[in-house]
Symmetry: C2
Subunit: 372 residues, 2 copies
């Protein structure tokens, strides 16, 4: 098989080639069972073992404390924008929820939550076109909140919290909810600052259709009466993600990715720590190329630039089409930016090797030289 192109899609996104090869090899017969994973009853011993292993590996990789439940659900991040408030808004009778808006995704979350309570934007980066994150010390968080929500990495605007806020230190005792869809497993999570984290799988975990929810146990059991049973976190937790038929094949693919992650090494580091080191190096390479050029520009404050999703513009927009066509010819795929931001976007998820970013940077410098 020839060298595969480098795929910079923001999601669904590239997966490790070794994972795809294993999935192809096991497609018709998983471990001598005579079945494809997608043909197994979700209650049979084969699939239960796959699901339990995936959960255990994820717990190990992200150092999830035993006081948190790991749930595999359906609906993606967009559905969670409703499912989270349906589960948590009623923690307090006033149903107050404060949102930190740092880009398109947290904006959507705040809007959807208004269906279920008093969802208010406490702080926003809109004034700067979502190129900055307002300092946590300036957030006017209300008293008696059911929770505070933020998106810890904004896929479209390329804005990332390099550190999660410590709400307790800010005098707020509400749990922090984070949407970590687009950088989960790219770096460690400080669970002491988090009450609930959710994410779609299709960026850094596996195929679209699996939603990951990591939730502190004391937050279970507050679902609104209108919350569908299939999306009541307590019900899902009590049935170990098997209350309704889970997306079995997606969980299997996620599990293969977790095993691949556990085997990754960077010097003395392994697992997520190794990925973080590699992701830092990858992002630095691309930001240095952008910042050192006359053609490319990224306007996000370096203090909150994303390591995963790097949007950049060509100062001469008429070159956009040529850039994309030549990139494709060089085996560099899916670099077109989101329509709301324009320009380009390179997503450097875990499955993107350093070599892919090197190839992109080399292409970008050549392209600039030819169009100077």
């Amino acid at each position: 098989m020839r060298q595969r192109p480098y795929n910079f899609s923001a999601g669904p996104a590239a997966m490790p080639e070794a994972v795809l090869q294993q999935a192809a090899a096991e497609m018709l017969d998983w471990h001598g069972s005579g079945m494809s994973v997608m043909e197994m009853s979700h209650r049979g011993k084969e699939f239960v073992s796959i699901c339990e292993q995936a959960e255990a590996d994820l717990r190990e990789l992200l150092a999830v404390p035993p006081t948190f439940k790991i749930l595999f659900m359906q609906g993606g991040g967009l559905a969670e924008n409703a499912i989270v408030p349906m589960n948590l808004a009623a923690r307090k009778p006033a149903r107050l929820m404060d949102f930190i808006v740092t880009g398109a995704w947290s904006q959507k979350s705040a809007q959807e939550a208004r269906k279920y309570g008093d969802a208010t934007v406490a702080a926003s980066g809109a004034d700067t076109g979502f190129t900055t994150i307002p300092a946590p010390a300036t957030w006017p968080l209300r008293d008696g909140l059911s929770y505070v929500h933020l998106c810890s990495n904004e896929t479209i605007h390329g804005v990332e919290f390099h550190e999660l806020p410590d709400l307790q230190a800010l005098g707020c005792d509400a749990p922090l909810v984070i949407d970590f869809s687009s950088h989960v497993l790219s770096r460690p999570v400080d669970w002491s600052r988090v009450g609930l984290a959710f994410g779609g799988a299709q960026k850094n975990i596996g195929p679209a259709g699996v939603t990951l929810v990591v939730v502190r146990e004391d937050l279970l059991g507050h679902a609104l009466p209108v919350c569908p049973s299939a999306f009541d976190y307590r019900t899902v937790a009590e049935h170990a993600s098997m209350y309704n038929t889970p997306p079995t094949y997606g969980i299997y693919m996620a599990g293969l990715t977790f095993q691949w992650l556990k085997a990754q090494r960077e010097g003395a580091l392994s697992g997520v720590a190794a990925m973080e080191a590699r992701n830092l190096a990858k992002a630095r390479l691309l930001y240095d190329c952008i910042d050192g050029s006359q053609l490319y520009v990224n306007r996000v404050d370096p203090a909150c630039r994303s390591r995963m999703n790097i949007p950049f513009q060509l100062r001469e927009e008429r070159l956009n089409d040529a850039f994309l066509a030549q990139a494709r010819a060089h085996g560099l795929l899916q670099l077109k930016g989101h329509k709301s931001v324009g320009g380009m976007r390179a997503s450097l998820y875990n499955a993107m090797p350093l070599e892919g970013v090197q190839a992109l940077v080399e292409f970008m410098r050549d392209f600039e030289r030819h169009h100077a």
Copy 2:
């Protein structure tokens, strides 16, 4: 590769071997794109073409009229038990919904719908242990209903509507909602009698995690304010199932299954008509074996016996374990019945060839002879 065993799982269930082989072959590079289908942006031209082809093939196979929308969603049949009333209950201010309960699934649907309106069981087969379906002419349907719900094939109890009721002929002008999860594509659907049909994919279509909804256009636009945007049928329809990231790989697998179905032939018949003829022959073979034996029994009224899910008991329950172990040794997998019914269950979905049922019947006769 050796002969694969026959897999009688009720779902997730066996898939056509040719479909699995094609998926394995295309895993790392779909049609020269350099990407696995699970690595493609759902908005890219490659995946959009896959999704549009799947929808067109399904429309052709099931002869879905142009006045119906086909939606690919997430959450499974269980989530639809809430999503349907969240979308349809408010068609009329009184939010009246009548349910025909013929087994475990319609029972669950009725219970969940109570969260969203006045959901009432109009008729039930519970008196006979769900071995009969009350005659439609006896259903005391209320006036001013938002809709009538039934499960056209009960996976657990093995009860199937051989013909859908004609609500208009019964003097009811409400739309009929059918849960056709476990027999979709096994027979034609009379769309003149249906307003909305939904089903999880994991029985007769593809992997778990894709939900199919076929809905008449005039039923869109009545979602309750608490309905999550991701599950508002009108929103999903307006965005051609791309409002949130769809379960892309599952839709691709469903599409391969649709293409396989279109190529099936039985004499002069093709597609779903061919499958119906084959499914009738498969079911007859197994019911004849059961009815002709002293050991096996199926208590469902022949007028409503399922062609897809055939539960049967051994009159000597002490033989259950031996039956399952010996069946497995003969390459006949996942025959254990649902815990609420006990005994055995053979699911004979489209992907189960006649040869698989012949092998099962042969084994059952041998087993009875040895234990007479």
